[in-house]
């Protein structure tokens, strides 16, 4: 497959880093009549991104909508679902949801995590939000045999590998991997991919270096974003699979 077809694509955490790269990659792969929903907390960064995309793409071909939403809140999730419903078009080949929004959390010793509100807050944003948003969008675009549905979970090697001092991040990524595996088992008409993008030149990596002192050798976001898009276009993996940037 060379394009994503006439698609409705939702990308969370779209204002920066990997999400922003994904928005660019996706915009080149959508057919005329497509809709791109960009979700993040920063309305101004999203508007900038929208302008960038329109400098390459005809507005007639692709409708880009910015949703300023805090996905750690119920209101943010329901607003995103509301806008999706509002902007839904009838003639669609493909719905593509990329659950990219996520946070690092504190890199700290296990024993430091005694505050349940802080742990809850982290899990709300990194786990609950992805579930509620995915469910909400599955309700907006109910599965049918003639509609291609793709759900991407932006994962990490640390969904599989335990790393000392990274309990929050590892726990949330492991939770998400299982959550999307269950979805894959349940929905034969939804193609689910957990994609671990590798270490990229993002603010999150700067935060990792600041907190842990570890500096990974980084790839530009667009390299990993392009790989993810190729995986989705080739569509040659079993639903629910976890794939890593370095494996493909």
């Amino acid at each position: 497959m060379l394009t994503l077809g006439r698609g409705f694509c939702i990308i969370t955490g779209a204002s920066k880093g990997f999400g922003r790269s994904l928005a660019h990659e996706v915009s080149h792969l959508l057919e005329p009549g497509s809709v791109l929903l960009l979700v993040a907390r920063s309305g101004s960064l999203l508007e900038e991104l929208k302008e960038e995309i329109y400098s390459f793409t005809d507005k007639q071909q692709l409708a880009v909508h910015c949703v300023t939403a805090d996905l750690s809140t119920r209101e943010g999730v329901t607003e995103t679902v509301r806008v999706a419903k509002q902007e839904a078009v009838t003639e669609l080949d493909h719905v593509l949801l990329i659950n990219n929004a996520g946070s690092l959390g504190n890199i700290s010793t296990f024993g430091s995590f005694t505050d349940i509100e802080k742990v809850n807050s982290y899990l709300t944003f990194n786990v609950s939000s992805a579930l509620a948003l995915t469910a909400g969008l599955l309700q907006v675009f109910p599965c049918r045999a003639d509609l291609r549905w793709s759900v991407v979970n932006i994962s990490s090697i640390f969904a599989l590998k335990a790393l000392p001092s990274w309990v929050l991040y590892c726990t949330a990524k492991a939770a998400r991997m299982m959550m999307f595996s269950v979805l894959a088992e349940e929905e034969p008409n939804v193609k689910v991919l957990s994609y671990s993008p590798g270490p990229m030149d993002t603010e999150m990596q700067e935060d990792i270096q600041r907190q842990s002192g570890i500096a990974y050798s980084l790839f530009p976001c667009h390299v990993s974003a392009a790989k993810l898009m190729k995986l989705i276009l080739d569509n040659d993996f079993p639903s629910g699979k976890h794939l890593d940037f370095f494996e493909v």
């Binding site: 296990f110 005694t114 349940i116 599965c143 335990a162 269950v182």
Partner: protein, 264 residues
């Protein structure tokens, strides 16, 4: 490296969550049979009455056993604090083992599919009890009883096959169990002196099993739960506990490993 390998679990402070019924109750009973005199138990659950019954049961066997019941909602800071406070009160300097059994859990609504979980508050609430409370209680316990020579620390996570295998219509339970397994694997990596066990107890005749059998939306899963029950393949809590005790006494498992009852 165990101090009193194979014979008993030492003079232990045992903290057990969800101790009022089911597997937690059985764990309390089995541990009480394997600890030395001078041990203490902190039993936590939401039902004070049920905890007191468990306490009475333990005291019938071991009259001198110190058993504290903490009626608490572990998903709240206040409940957590009371469990830690009771644990500190029960601890004595001549104890050589702290054992925390993270057993409290809920099934979540298995009558619905992933696409139906649009209510974030429901998911938050589930994760708070099944994931956050477990992390915080374990962290607090390790902080309250830090490493020192002569003190073994063992943390058990009551896990499940669902931690490693996705079950249709069980998104909350699977997600929570997978999260917990990873959480404890991180602990095992960080703290080599803490013995960490992710124990999957198998299908047992508990309230969770009854709910699973009657409410599971996925027809195949529901059928298999009914079939296991009808064919007598469901374990008693005692049977599974016996295996857990063997693991703890042998103390030779790799810290952080996921071990299923059928592996023992």
């Amino acid at each position: 490296m165990s101090i009193a390998a194979g014979t008993d679990l030492g003079r232990a402070l045992c903290i057990i969550t969800g101790a009022s019924r089911g597997f937690g109750q059985a764990v309390a009973r089995h541990l009480s049979q394997r600890v030395s005199p001078g041990s203490a138990f902190v039993l936590a659950a939401r039902s004070g009455n049920d905890l007191r019954s468990v306490r009475a049961e333990l005291l019938q066997e071991y009259a001198g056993l110190l058993v504290e019941c903490v009626e608490a909602d572990l998903a709240h800071a206040e409940g957590q604090a009371r469990v830690i406070s009771a644990a500190k009160q029960c601890f004595s300097a001549d104890m050589d083992h702290v054992i925390l059994v993270n057993n409290a859990a809920s099934l979540g609504d298995v009558s619905r599919y992933t696409r139906d979980f649009t209510n974030m508050a429901e998911v938050d609430s589930y994760l708070s009890l099944n994931v956050s409370s477990c992390l915080c209680l374990t962290a607090s316990t390790l902080e309250a009883f830090p490493q020192r020579p002569g003190l073994r620390r063992t943390v058990v996570n009551v896990s499940s096959l669902c931690a490693v295998q996705p079950f249709p219509s069980w998104v909350l339970y699977c997600t929570g169990k997978a999260a917990r397994d990873m959480m404890f694997r991180v602990l095992a990596e960080e703290e080599p002196d803490v013995r960490v066990l992710n124990y999957a107890p198998g299908p047992m005749d508990t309230d969770i099993y009854a709910s699973a059998k009657s409410r599971t939306a996925d027809p195949n899963i529901r059928r298999s739960f009914t079939a296991m029950w009808d064919q007598g393949q469901v374990l008693t809590c005692d049977e599974s506990c016996t295996k857990l005790m063997k693991l703890l006494l042998d103390d030779s498992y790799v810290s952080g490993a996921h071990i299923d009852v059928y592996d023992v």
